[in-house]
C-alpha cells in the first residue's frame, strides 16, 4: 500500500523547528487525526497533501491554536509546548495564513497589515507603519505599487502577498499556508510560489497545505501525505513522482487518477 522505498524514518531531525509526535484529535465519534508525526526545519518547505477529509484542516487548526489536540506532543525549538489559543500560537512564532485570507477590503494595505497591532494606539504612527510595511513587502519582493490603496483593488495574488506579509509582522519561525494558490490564476500562482521560496530563503519553516501536485513539486522540499487522519508517508520531493504521491493520497496505485491517465494515454496512442 504505502510506498516504503522512499519513505523517511520518522526520527526527529536535529535541525527541526517544529515537530509533532503522535498527535490525535477526535470530534465525537470521528477520529480526525490519529498519531500524526510531522517535522519542519528552518528553511524547509513541507507540503501537507491529502484527500478531502484527510485531516489537513484539522492539523492546521491544531497548529494555529484553534483546536487543542487530544494527545501527542508538539515540540517547538527544543521545548515541548502547548498551543491552547491563536494568541499562543502567535506568541510562539507560528503564523497562519488561512485560505480566505481574512483581509478587510475597505482598509488599505498598511491598515490591514497592522490591524490589531497598530503602532501607538492613541495617536497612530502612520509613518512608522508605512515604513515597516514597505520593508516587509520588499523582503517578499512584492509587486504592490502603493500601500495606500484599499485591498479591494488588489489582485488575488497581491492579496495573498498582503496576507503573508501580515503573518510575517511578528517575526514568526514557522508559517502555515492553507491552500495559498487555490483561488489564483497561472501568473498569480507563480508569484505566490516565488513568495514561498523567498520565505524559505529567509530561513522560515513553511508548512504548505495544497491540493495541487504541480505546486507541491515546484516548491516543496518534503511532502507529508495524510490519509484518513493518519500519516501515509513522508517523501523527498526530488525523489518521488507525482504518481507516487497520488498513490499515497488515495491509498492505492490503481486509483481513479492513474486509471484516467492510462485511459488518456491509450486514447492518444490509438
Amino acid at each position: 500500500m504505502s510506498p516504503t522505498s522512499s519513505k523517511r524514518t520518522a526520527n526527529q531531525r536535529s535541525d527541526s523547528v517544529l515537530s509533532l509526535r503522535g498527535i490525535s484529535k477526535t470530534f465525537g465519534a470521528v477520529a480526525a487525526l490519529t498519531g500524526i508525526d510531522l517535522d519542519v526545519a528552518a528553511g524547509q518547505v513541507v507540503a501537507v497533501v491529502g484527500d478531502n477529509g484527510a485531516g489537513k484542516s484539522t492539523l492546521v487548526k491544531i497548529l494555529s491554536g484553534v483546536h487543542p489536540p487530544d494527545s501527542g506532543t508538539i515540540t517547538f525549538g527544543s521545548r515541548e509546548v502547548e498551543i491552547p489559543t491563536p494568541a499562543a500560537a502567535h506568541k510562539l512564532g507560528i503564523a497562519t495564513v488561512f485560505q480566505d485570507l481574512a483581509l478587510c477590503e475597505n482598509l488599505n494595505v498598511i491598515q490591514n497589515l497592522f490591524l490589531g497591532q497598530e503602532v501607538r494606539p492613541l495617536r497612530l504612527n502612520d509613518v512608522a507603519m508605512e515604513t515597516r510595511s514597505w520593508e516587509l513587502l520588499r523582503q517578499l519582493s512584492a509587486k504592490i505599487p502603493s500601500v495606500r490603496v484599499p485591498v479591494a483593488s488588489l489582485s488575488g495574488g497581491q492579496r495573498q502577498t498582503v496576507a503573508i506579509a501580515r503573518s510575517l509582522l511578528g517575526d514568526p519561525k514557522v508559517i502555515i499556508l492553507d491552500e495559498p494558490t487555490a483561488a489564483l490564476g497561472v501568473a498569480q500562482t507563480a508569484e505566490v510560489l516565488n513568495l514561498v521560496e523567498r520565505l524559505r530563503e529567509n530561513g522560515l519553516g513553511v508548512i504548505m497545505i495544497s491540493h495541487n501536485m504541480a505546486d507541491v513539486k515546484a516548491v516543496a522540499d518534503t511532502v507529508a501525505v495524510l490519509r484518513l487522519g493518519r500519516n501515509n508517508g513522508v517523501f523527498d520531493v526530488s525523489e518521488v513522482s507525482a504518481e507516487d504521491i497520488i498513490a499515497a493520497i488515495t491509498g492505492a496505485t490503481d486509483n481513479v487518477v492513474s486509471q484516467r491517465q492510462s485511459r488518456r494515454k491509450e486514447g492518444s496512442t490509438s
Partner: protein, 409 residues
C-alpha cells in the same frame, strides 16, 4: 533624483507639488472615490434653488438659524455615523433623544435638581440604553434593526410616561442651558481667532507629518499644497464668520457640535479604536482573527450612539425651552439617519467620516428651512427630504460601481 520608499514602483505616476495634488483629487473623483464632492455639489444646487425661490434663504439671519437648528440633530447623526460604520443601525435615536429631553425637564423643573445633575442623569441614561442594546446584540445575536425598533416604541412610551398627564414641561428661560441653546453667541473676535487657530492647526499638523514622512524616506505633501490648503480653509472660515457675524454670529451650540465632530474625526481616523471600527464594518471575521475584541467595539459604538442621541435630545429641549410629547418624534429619527447617509456614510458598513454628519445635517436643515420659508406644508418637506435621501443613496451606489470598475472599491 532621490526616489522615496513609497514611490519606487515604476508603474506609479509621479505627481509633484500643488498641481499634482489637484490632479490626484480629480483622478480619484473620476474613479468613483467621490468623498465629500456629491454632498457639496448637492448643497450648492439646493442653496441656489432655494435662494431663487426665496431671497431671504441665504440671508445671514436665516443661516445663523440654520446652524443653530443643525446642532441637535447633527449630534444625533454623529452617533448614527458610528453605528453605520460597524454595519449596524440604531432606529431609536429619536425616541432616546425625546426621552432624554423629558428626563432632563422632569429632573430639572419638576424635581428641582441642579441643571448639571439633570444633564448628567440624561446622558448616563443614554449610555445605559446603548449598553443594553449592545448586550442584547452581543449575547443573543438579535439584529440591531429589531432591537432598536423595539427600543423606538418602548422609549417613546417611557417618554410619555415620564412627562405624565400634562404632556409638556417648559424649561425656565433664564437657565444657562436654554441660554446656551438660544442666545449664547461667540464674540466676533473670538470667532475669527477660532478660524485662524483652525487654519494654523491644519497647517502645523500637515507640516509636521510631512517632515516626519520625509525623514523616514517617504513621499510627502509639498509645502505649497499645505499652505494652499490652510489658506483656503482660513478664507472659507473667515467668510463664514464674517457673514454670520452680520447678524447674530456663530452660536456656542454650533461650536460645540463642530468640536464633537472634530473629536470623533480624530478618534475614528487616528486611533486604534477607530481602525477597529472600520475593520469590524468591513469584515467582522477578519477583525476577530486580527485579535480585535469585536464585542467590545460593538458595545462602544452602541453606547456612543445612544449617548449622542441623549445629548442631542437635551440640546433640542433646550432650544425649544420645553420637553413635550412630540420631542424626538416624527422626522428626528429619519433626519439623523438621512444626514449620515447623505454625508457619505455607507449603509453597509466600513465607509464614512465624522464630517459626513456635519455636511449631511446642513443639507437636511437647508431643505427644511428653505421649505418652511416658502410656507410649504410639512407634507411637501417630507417628500423633498425623502427624494434627496434617495438621491444620495443612488449617488453612493453609482460611485460604488465606479469604484469597483476602477479598482477602488
Amino acid at each position: 533624483m532621490n526616489v522615496t520608499t513609497d514611490r519606487q514602483d515604476e508603474r506609479l505616476q509621479s505627481r509633484e507639488g500643488l498641481r499634482g495634488a489637484i490632479t490626484d483629487v480629480v483622478e480619484r473623483a473620476r474613479g468613483g472615490d467621490l468623498g465629500v464632492i456629491p454632498v457639496v455639489v448637492g448643497l450648492i444646487v439646493i442653496w441656489t434653488v432655494l435662494q431663487i425661490l426665496n431671497p431671504i434663504f441665504l440671508s445671514s439671519a436665516n443661516l445663523v438659524n440654520l446652524t443653530m437648528e443643525s446642532a441637535a440633530v447633527g449630534i444625533i447623526a454623529l452617533g448614527i455615523v458610528c453605528v453605520l460604520l460597524v454595519g449596524q443601525i440604531d432606529l431609536s435615536v429619536g425616541s432616546v433623544s425625546g426621552l432624554s429631553g423629558a428626563v432632563l425637564a422632569v429632573l430639572f423643573v419638576s424635581q428641582g435638581l441642579p441643571v448639571w445633575l439633570a444633564i448628567g442623569a440624561s446622558v448616563i441614561m443614554g449610555a445605559v440604553i446603548g449598553w443594553v442594546y449592545a448586550q442584547l446584540f452581543n449575547r443573543f445575536g438579535v439584529p440591531s434593526f429589531v432591537i432598536t425598533l423595539a427600543g423606538l416604541l418602548a422609549f417613546l412610551g417611557l417618554q410619555l410616561y415620564v412627562l405624565g398627564s400634562k404632556g409638556s414641561i417648559n424649561l425656565p428661560f433664564d437657565s444657562g442651558l436654554v441660554n446656551f441653546a438660544q442666545l449664547d453667541f461667540v464674540p466676533d473676535w473670538l470667532s475669527y481667532c477660532f478660524a485662524v487657530i483652525a487654519a494654523a492647526a491644519l497647517f502645523a499638523s500637515g507640516f509636521f507629518h510631512a517632515r516626519e514622512r520625509r525623514r523616514a524616506g517617504l513621499s510627502a505633501k509639498s509645502l505649497s499644497t499645505l499652505v494652499a490648503r490652510s489658506v483656503a480653509l482660513l478664507v472659507v472660515l473667515a467668510f463664514v464668520v464674517w457673514y454670520l457675524g452680520q447678524t447674530r454670529g456663530v452660536g456656542w451650540m454650533f461650536v460645540f457640535f463642530v468640536a464633537l465632530v472634530l473629536i470623533m474625526h480624530y478618534l475614528l481616523s487616528r486611533t486604534k479604536w477607530g481602525r477597529a471600527v472600520y475593520a469590524v464594518g468591513g469584515n467582522v471575521e477578519a477583525a476577530r482573527r486580527a485579535g480585535i475584541n469585536v464585542k467590545a467595539i460593538y458595545t462602544s459604538v452602541f453606547v456612543l450612539c445612544s449617548t449622542f442621541a441623549a445629548v442631542g435630545g437635551i440640546l433640542a429641549a433646550a432650544r425649544l425651552a420645553a420637553a413635550n410629547q412630540s420631542s424626538g418624534s416624527g422626522d428626528v429619527n429619519l433626519n439623523a439617519i438621512a444626514a449620515a447617509v447623505i454625508g457619505g456614510t455607507s449603509l453597509f458598513g466600513g465607509r464614512g467620516t465624522a464630517f459626513g454628519a456635519l455636511l449631511g445635517i446642513i443639507v437636511i436643515q437647508s431643505i427644511s428651512s428653505g421649505l418652511t420659508l416658502l410656507n410649504l406644508d410639512s407634507s411637501i418637506r417630507f417628500v423633498v427630504t425623502g427624494v434627496v435621501l434617495l438621491l444620495a443613496v443612488v449617488v453612493d451606489s453609482v460611485a460604488r460601481k465606479s469604484r469597483t470598475s476602477h479598482g477602488r472599491a
